[in-house]
Amino acid sequence: MGLSGAEMRAPAIDFRGSAIIGGVTVFEDLCLAIPAGQWTCLLGPSGVGKSTLLRILAGLDEDIGGNRTVSTNDNIGLDGRVALMAQQDNLMPWLTVRDNVLLGSRVRREPADMARADLLIVQVGLADHGHKKPGALSGGQRQRVALARTLMEDRPVVLLDEPFSALDARIRAEMQELAARLFAGRTVCLITHDPGEAARLGETVYVMGRSGLTAIEPPPTPVIRPYDAPDVLACQGQLLRLLRELP
């Protein structure tokens, strides 16, 4: 697939502000700059508000208090320009793989683009599984379906909340490569616990702690980087050290 309209319009995103859930401040005065059309990785321990930040960007923030602004460099809001993929595949067990990929058009009552769905199912390597239901698939295959469903939405901004963390190491590496290829050109924000993942995929890398964000210089090579390249391993080590030194 060539560059589609969505990729051309991928915006840079700027977040500033705070989040309060149930009277507890999750973070305050946080500034996050997400460059256009690149992979931005947010690395950090549990409970510092990474997922909260992602929910805000996804527009799922009606239960989240605080003051904040989300702006884009093209001055168009993020509504309807975001696709979300989480750690859970969130596949509908009653729909086939193909119908899961087409879920977006169903809930929006739009005509379904079957040909594109089938193409994406082939691209994620599930050519023979389109008619199956998720119960018949392995965890890795299910996450591939979720990937195809995310791509089907064809949104310029993609928010990934630890999408590969439940997979075993080999499949995780495969999925990272597949996602890097298929999401190329979009503005991607990836939340992860895994320093290795951030070192492979991040074009901008932040470590998020209780006191805010620290920007880390990723290796200069283009993504996706080989997991065993010396600069990737060095970056992975540096990220892990930083994570451990967080207050």
């Binding site: 929910r55 009653w94 879920l103 809930v107 239901k133």
Partner: protein, 246 residues
């Protein structure tokens, strides 16, 4: 096959105990007739009992159908509208404080001796369990699925239709399983209060005329009917739930 054998064994043991009780306690036939006598009464009055059973079955099935549809619709309405939850839910819970049995005479007064009040009794008795089981299911849609629907900019009703309702089918199924057992209770109470047909009516009639064997025969038919209904609904529900994921 083993299942069939097991059912046969249970029935055999039940009849054996019944016969033993009659013989050992030397019970007179007007207190507890022997299985044999009840069997004879069943055989001799087969046509009569079948006629009344059909009436009761009709009441139960219509009540079950209407109650399921109304209960499911109410659950969806409640799940869609916070205002409806605020207003209707307390009313529903309060209405459960009123025993449905107490309404039977009122319904007979208003609607006469025909099918109507029995159907409504059956409906009323299953309405709450169906609504409440399905509603709980609808409110427990996994959060990730709902997030997905919202980020996809799904419309409220489409998210209900494509995500929340399918996810709540197991809840509806457990409500319907209960309903299959409750519905006959409603119909029989309705018949006791005022009827000219039905198994409940036949039991009262037989009791009044000291035809205790006939009364037990009607009771037996009622029990078997309820059991089969429960089994049928259970099978249907299990099939639909299993089918969803295969």
């Amino acid at each position: 096959m083993t299942r069939l054998l097991a059912v046969g064994a249970v029935v055999g043991i039940f009849i054996g105990l019944w016969q033993a009780l009659v013989v050992l306690a030397d019970l007179p036939a007007f207190i507890l007739p022997s299985p044999m006598r009840v069997g004879q009464a069943l055989w001799a009055n087969a046509e009569l009992i079948a006629g009344h059973a059909m009436v009761t079955l009709t009441e139960v099935l219509i009540g079950l159908g209407l109650g399921a549809v109304l209960g499911a619709a109410t659950a969806i309405g409640l799940a869609l509208s916070p205002l409806a939850r605020l207003v209707v839910r307390p009313m529903m819970v309060l209405s459960q404080a009123l025993p449905v049995f107490a309404l039977a005479p009122v319904l007979t007064l208003w609607l006469g001796y025909g099918l109507g009040p029995k159907v409504i009794m059956a409906l009323l008795i299953i309405y709450f369990p169906v609504t409440s089981a399905f509603f709980d299911g609808l409110m427990q849609t996994p959060r990730g699925m709902l997030d997905l629907g919202r980020v996809m900019q799904g419309r409220r009703w489409q998210i209900m239709r494509h995500i929340r309702i399918p996810a709540a089918i197991p809840g509806l199924a457990s409500g319907l399983r209960l309903a299959a057992v409750y519905a006959p209770i409603g119909a029989i109470i309705g018949e006791w209060v005022g009827a000219s047909q039905g198994l409940g009516y036949l039991m009262l009639l037989a009791n009044g005329r000291a035809k205790i064997d006939l009364m037990f025969a009607a009771l037996l038919v009622l029990a078997v009917m309820t059991l089969l209904l429960h089994l049928g609904v259970d099978r249907l529900c299990s099939y639909v739930v299993r089918r969803q994921e295969r």
